[in-house]
């Protein structure tokens, strides 16, 4: 194992060295730092050209310059941009933070949704739902991201902001949306005609009632979860998670999940008061929220443990997941409480969804309002990124699940009389995730370096923007820093994927 890792890392370093050399030669051809001076009408241009040639050592061969650059880079100095005079390391730090902010939510959401939809679609193979999912994943897969982004700007931002100015859904819209949702839900549930009709009606009624509630309470401009929706969502989460994780017949798990929901309701007001006092002391920040989140999940697990029983770890798992969901909802509710004041801010003036940059210039507010501002800028690029990677994950997990469903161990599991839930969740689902372990690390890394177009369109600072701008402005060092970092990350991701695969699947042995 150790030998495998050492060998791969050494090999990776060698590949990296070679790739950086080739990249340097290529970028050197692509980039001409004297371009602006050649076209300038400044009478001093020849002397300026001479100065810049000396500054950038352009009189030496590119191989020589590569070794100068590589020596500095390895010792921790990625150089300085000749255009702005800023050290590349500084520029890089901002870019990395911007990119991580952008891709985190998109990656996790698309993984969750993509795997979920892909698996359901595989379970309903050869049904209308399956064909629909396959077709739409193909369409999404074929969409150019720059085209989607412009559409999102038009409808997601301008359209939704206009809608917020006068949020009114006509009854016809509500009915049509509700019916569509009902049909979609019934297609996913499938089954005999009677069950389909019931799920159409149930789904349509639920969605219709929800839309009506949102309309009647003016939710669009004063979004909230509040105690009443917290109960409703909490019950849904408790039953849903228990159903998937242990089955409803596991009473202890169900009770611990319900206890967690009850605890959340009891603690809802105290937690809000805690946040109020933290706000007043100007202490609210992500470290505290993260800490509270850990406490929440831990207490959920504790509840499950306290219910005891021979298989308490199942209750603990269920309660932990429900606690995480409830905690997220309380946090979301807290953020939503500041929506009206954020919306009324003079810098926002009723247009909360933004299409450019990562924050509104000159925007000031408390922690929650600043967070909302960040979200308002994040939502569109996140959607754009999600749509495309969602399609990839759906296709991949669908194929993986279909493969698993045909395995002998699935037949064995059914033959020995296990329930369908256990067969699918424990024998099918877990094995479906194994091949995904090889693409997820690589994908995350690719996103880190590869959100080029999305960053460019939404004018967000990030790795991609840094790369493109400097390539256009003929600054070599940041371009090289980007390429080397992305290549290094890709090599690491591949090693991680191989190790993960070997750890998850005992049939695979790593060999050097």
């Amino acid at each position: 194992m150790l030998q495998f890792i050492v060998r791969r890392v050494l090999m990776g370093a060698l590949v990296l060295l070679l790739s950086s050399f080739l990249c340097y030669l290529m970028v050197d051809v692509a980039v001409d730092p004297l371009e602006d001076l050649y076209t300038s009408t400044d009478p001093d241009a020849p002397t300026l050209i001479q100065e810049r040639i000396e500054q950038l050592h352009l009189d030496r061969s590119s191989v020589e310059r590569y070794f100068m650059w590589a020596g500095a880079f390895i010792t921790g100095d990625p150089g300085t941009s000749w255009l702005t005079g800023r050290p590349v390391a500084e520029e890089l730090r901002g870019a990395v933070i911007g990119t991580i902010q952008l891709v985190t939510a998109a990656t996790f959401l698309s993984i969750f949704l993509g795997i979920g939809v892909g698996i359901v679609s595989a379970l309903r193979q050869y049904t209308g739902f399956d064909y629909l999912v396959v077709f739409f994943s193909f369409v999404l897969y074929s969409l150019p991201v720059f085209w989607v982004a412009v559409l999102l700007k038009q409808w997601g931002a301008i359209g939704y902001n206009d809608f917020l100015a006068d949020p009114f859904l006509s009854p016809v819209t509500i009915i049509v949306v509700a019916l569509l949702a009902g049909v979609l839900i019934s297609m996913a549930i499938a089954g005999p005609l009677q069950r389909r009709l019931i799920s159409i009606a149930g789904g349509a009624l639920a969605v219709g009632a929800l839309l009506f509630y949102l309309q009647a309470t003016g939710w669009w401009n004063e979004p909230h979860i509040g105690p009443e929706l917290l109960i409703l969502n909490g019950l849904a989460a408790a039953f849903g998670i228990t159903l998937l994780s242990t089955g409803l017949e596991h009473r202890r798990a169900l009770y611990s999940a319900l206890t967690v929901v009850g605890l959340t309701l009891v603690l809802y007001f105290p937690v809000n008061m805690l946040f109020d006092s933290l706000d007043a002391a100007n202490l609210t920040g992500w470290p505290i929220i993260l800490g509270l989140g850990v406490v929440t999940v831990a207490s959920g697990v504790l509840v499950g443990r306290l219910y005891g029983g021979p298989d308490w770890n199942q209750s603990a798992r269920t309660a932990g997941i429900v606690a995480a969901i409830m905690g997220a909802m309380v946090l979301l509710d807290r953020i939503m409480q500041f929506w009206p004041s954020y919306n009324a801010n003079s810098r926002i003036s009723g247009r909360p969804i933004r299409t450019f940059q990562e924050r509104t210039p000159g925007f000031e507010g408390n922690f929650w309002e600043v967070t909302l501002n960040t979200f308002g800028h994040l939502i569109l690029p996140t959607l754009a990124l999600m749509l495309i990677s969602f399609a990839t994950y759906t296709r991949f997990s669908r194929a993986s699940m279909l493969e698993v469903m045909n395995q002998d161990y699935m037949r064995t599991a059914r033959a020995k009389g296990l329930g369908e839930r256990t067969v699918i969740m424990r024998h099918g689902f877990r094995n479906t995730l194994i091949p995904l372990a090889t693409i997820v690390p690589v994908d995350i890394i690719t996103l880190l370096g590869g959100a080029l177009i999305t960053e460019r369109i939404f004018a967000r600072p990030g790795m991609g923007t840094m790369f493109l701008n400097n390539l256009e402005e003929n600054v070599m060092e940041p371009v090289m820093a980007y390429l080397v970092i992305v290549a290094a990350l890709a090599i690491i991701a591949n090693i991680v994927a191989d190790l993960l695969y070997a750890a998850l699947d005992p049939r695979i042995r790593v060999s050097a």
Binding site: V27, V145, G449, L452
Partner: protein, 368 residues
């Protein structure tokens, strides 16, 4: 699986669905389909059964024919009135911009006027250039770029994959590390650097450059395929018969790896469309005076609020081309995959069952 096969009963005529020559049980239906046919026939039949792929192929053919015939290609003149970039002359045509703002003159069958295309079906831009001609030229560019990328990627990928899979050892190590070298960099970033060197003037160098970086997936697949093929008996047989390495590679192994290659190339081409349009959009690909679908979108992006059609048409055709190629690739994959099984839907099974019951009840009982 057994539920697909009608139960064997005393009634021979009804149960001849189970042909003794191909056996029973799992895979029997697939075998029945394959009896007495060559590999090519089986693949072709499976492909033609994939309705999505067939529809996609027809649509793609229509788009290609439309794109190449309408505005002319090379020295062949097209049938469309306007050339790409041409504007109506007020003195000759009596107008500069036909509809107000240059909106499309195409009318749909369900509108009051009925179906008609008018002089500028896709509209005109702010200075009156005909959008249809521009989009058609963009389709031409994209198709040419994609085909060249496909050819280059296939040649490099197959060559490298075949050599490293067949010879293994040192050659394999060197070639696969070289592949790693290219894989480590995101194609779009590498493409941008290459585009900055080769782009702009002519689509062909750009396509060659992109093709030189998109072969990696194919070469890995071909290598894996060759590694398993070279252990097969027919390769041993060929070697014993005195065949040279070249002959074994090209005559015996390559035809057997064709399925993998075709599928992978199709999918590479569909992602190459998006890569080329993305690069052109970013300004590192094809730029004026050449027209590409990505360039059109970047050119007219800001006009979206006022002249949305300038933005809709090129995007629509990018999606259409990429989607159809993807569907064809999917159909090919199904056709080449021997594990693919045709499983009738529950409804069809029930219908077949009912039909069987009806026939059975309408027939007099046969004495045993």
């Amino acid at each position: 699986m057994n539920s697909n096969i009608p139960p064997v009963d005393q009634d021979r005529e009804l149960s001849d669905a189970v042909d003794e020559s191909v056996g029973r049980g799992e895979g029997a239906l697939e075998l029945r389909d394959a009896v007495g046919k060559s590999q090519g026939q089986i693949v072709r039949e499976r492909f033609f059964r994939h309705r999505g792929a067939i529809a996609a192929m027809i649509v793609l053919a229509a788009v290609v024919i439309l794109g190449f015939s309408s505005v002319g290609f090379w020295f062949v003149p097209g049938w469309w009135e306007w050339a790409p970039g041409e504007r109506p002359d007020p003195e000759v045509h009596g107008y500069r911009i036909f509809n107000e703002g240059g909106s499309p003159t195409i009318t749909m069958p369900w509108s009051e006027e009925g179906f008609g295309i008018g002089p500028h079906p896709f509209g005109q831009d702010d200075i009156g250039r005909d959008m249809f001609a521009m989009v058609m030229r963009g389709i031409q560019t994209s198709i040419i770029v994609v085909v060249i990328i496909g050819i280059v990627a296939t040649l490099i990928g197959v060559l490298i994959g075949a050599i490293s899979g067949f010879f293994r050892g040192a050659a394999d190590q060197v070639l696969m590390r070289m592949t790693d070298l290219v894989i480590t960099l995101p194609t779009i970033a590498l493409g941008a650097v290459l585009g900055a060197i080769f782009g702009a003037a002519d689509p062909v160098p750009l396509a060659l450059a992109i093709g030189a970086i998109t072969w990696t997936g194919l070469s890995r697949l071909v290598r894996a395929e060759f590694l398993s093929l070279r252990e097969r008996e027919f390769v041993d047989a060929a070697r014993v018969a005195g065949a040279s390495n070249l002959r074994i590679i090209f005559k015996h192994m390559l035809p057997n790896a064709m399925g993998v290659i075709i599928v992978s190339v199709t999918l590479t081409m569909s992602s190459a469309i998006l890569l080329e349009t993305s690069l052109s959009y970013l300004g590192f690909g094809i730029t004026s005076p050449n027209v590409s679908l990505g360039w059109l979108i970047s050119e007219y992006e800001t006009a979206f609020a006022t002249r949305p059609w300038l933005f809709w048409w090129p995007g629509l055709f990018i999606v259409l081309i990429a989607l159809t190629v993807n569907f064809i690739g999917d159909g090919l994959r199904d056709a080449f995959d021997p594990r693919q099984r045709r499983i009738p839907s529950a409804r069809k099974l029930a219908a077949a069952e009912r039909k069987l019951q009806r026939e059975r009840s309408s027939r007099p009982e046969v004495a045993p």
